[in-house]
Symmetry: C2
Subunit: 112 residues, 2 copies
Amino acid sequence: MNAAADTDLATCFAALGDPTRFAIVTRLMTEGPQSAGALLDVADISAPAVSRHLKVLRQAGVVHQQVDAQRRIYSVAPEAVQAIGRWSMTKREFWEGSLDRLATVLDDLQAE
Amino acid sequence: MNAAADTDLATCFAALGDPTRFAIVTRLMTEGPQSAGALLDVADISAPAVSRHLKVLRQAGVVHQQVDAQRRIYSVAPEAVQAIGRWSMTKREFWEGSLDRLATVLDDLQAE
DNA sequence: TTGTTAATTAACTATTGAGTTATTTATATG
DNA sequence: CATATAAATAACTCAATAGTTAATTAACAA
């Protein structure tokens, strides 16, 4: 809601705006936490390139890093995805005529 | 849900990732639709710069343009904000233990 | 110790992107 | 018609970013 939170959100969007990083985050969400090396095939790029993308995501607070011996295990930060959802929801008057219809959207999601 | 939709979402995130563009979108949502000229003071930049930001937002589907004589009136595209919200919601298992708690979050939002 | 694996950092290149001023397009108005 | 207003496009500069290969750091294993 405040200026600082908005800045963080824009940073978050910027991090997710890169196709490779979006693919990394999608992969981590659908397949669960994995190492930097396991993420190498999300795009046809080198290990250092993936490493730098992960650094951007980490600094934006989109992913968390967990050390396991030589491996670094990455996972999606729930708070980040939640923050994006909250942003959309607080602006919902722009995509919904009334709060009543929100239930319908949620019902649709459950039906998927 | 499909690959094309994901690409669009990443484009959307990229558009919102720039601080100036995020400010433009926030302004349009809180104050309602307005002309390119009226948006000039969202940042200390020239009119052509604002114009180009609006073009990026329009091409990403984040804003709509409406012609009114010489003026171009811009407004936030509800579908874009909704799409972002849906993305977050479909991934909610990463930020919520169960669907039950979703109601609590929505209650919090209503209480704001 | 020595070698292997995992990942990051360093150094560099090429492209993209955001900004500028000047110009063009289009509409309204004296 | 001539001029003013509104916005976009053109042409350009500079900084940021995404990619590369080579080198470094760190932990495990023979």
